[in-house]
């Protein structure tokens, strides 16, 4: 159980730190594009976990590929999210003349 032997824990630790950095960006950043960058970091952290768990903790016969399959689905959804999110940001700028997330408060009561 030494940390000198690379196994799933190393990848999970890396993914946890990456996810926390993404969360920090989402909380702290005021620009909507910078918030999207933080979300990309979090999605990548989830993908690292999926692939690492399949490699190290999945069935020992290398027949089942569920981790990589769902990581690919997540990558596709991340691409969709980036496309739609950036389109929304461009549209919001066209209407409100701002890219700062807190200034988009038309629905605030």
């Amino acid at each position: 159980m030494s940390w000198l032997q690379v196994d799933a824990r190393h990848f999970t630790l890396l993914a946890a730190l990456l996810f926390c950095l993404g969360l920090y960006a989402v909380i702290v950043r005021r620009n909507s594009v910078a918030i999207l960058l933080g979300i990309e970091l979090m999605l990548n952290a989830a993908n690292i976990n999926l692939v690492a768990f399949q490699r190290y903790l999945g069935p020992s016969v290398n027949l089942v590929m569920d981790g990589q399959i769902f990581a690919l689905v997540v990558i596709t959804l991340a691409a969709c999210e980036a496309a739609v999110g950036l389109a929304i940001i461009l549209n919001v700028y066209r209407v409100l003349r701002t890219t700062t997330a807190d200034e988009v408060s038309l629905l605030k009561w």
Binding site: V6, A8, L13, L18, V33, A34, L41, L57, T76, L90
Partner: protein
């Protein structure tokens, strides 16, 4: 002594992890959004290297092609479009920094503590029966030999990774595959609808309200 401690695997992993985490810190802290987005590139490449380490060759290729080649270029494209309209560099100010540090730090502590107490290797699932895999008739000719040729610890067949990914996407994971294609279609239509310029019919009522001399100004604004 040092050579015994530092196995090649550990060195490779440490380098890739340092590249990934270091550039992720830059993504989070750099003030100009353009710089932050560019710092995402080494982060994605480091993660692609980690996929290579995990013998997921197809994931490596997709990480480079979709993330570094697609999403990052899209983000930069949007940033440049916005900066042209803002007429200056887009700066991402930070607010609530103590709250962010507290939330992210607390989550990190919880996750690391969870990580510390679990005997990971003991939870490894038993190997499935070979018969539970693909039926012999479903596999393409010539595939079965390679497919069942894998031993319990033969993780090095990187060249078959793409083949297996395609096979599983079109057999066991057909539903996620089809759902993903529907989501892609919806996202494509939605992004085009959101980002296109307003069409002539939508502009027309506003133009009618304007007095006649102002129509040139309204047309100039629309472009």
């Amino acid at each position: 002594m040092l050579q015994q401690l530092l196995s090649p695997q550990l060195v490779v992993f440490a380098v890739l992890a340092l590249v990934t985490l270091g550039s992720a810190v830059l993504v989070v802290t750099l003030r100009r959004v353009t710089h932050a987005a560019l710092a995402l590139l080494p982060c994605f490449i480091g993660i692609a290297g980690l996929y290579g380490y995990l013998n997921a060759g197809f994931m490596l290729a997709m990480q480079i092609i979709i993330y570094a080649g697609g999403i990052l270029v899209l983000v930069l494209f949007a940033i440049f479009l916005l900066e042209r309209r803002i007429e200056g560099p887009m700066v991402a100010a930070s607010h609530h920094v103590p709250a962010g540090v507290a939330a992210a730090g607390l989550l990190a502590v919880i996750l690391v503590l969870l990580l510390h107490g679990e005997p990971w290797q003991a939870r490894r699932l038993p190997a499935p029966e070979p018969e539970l895999g693909l039926a012999a008739g479903a596999a393409p000719p010539g595939f079965e030999y390679r497919f069942f040729g894998y031993g319990p610890d033969s993780h090095t067949q990187g060249e078959a990774n793409t083949q297996r990914t395609g096979l599983y996407f079109l057999t066991y994971h057909l539903l996620p595959f089809e759902l993903t294609s529907v989501v892609l279609l919806v996202a494509m239509v939605g992004a085009i609808l959101l980002a296109r310029k307003r069409s002539a019919e939508e502009e027309a009522p506003e133009a009618d309200e304007e007095p006649v001399p102002d129509q040139t100004a309204a047309g100039g604004e629309g472009t």
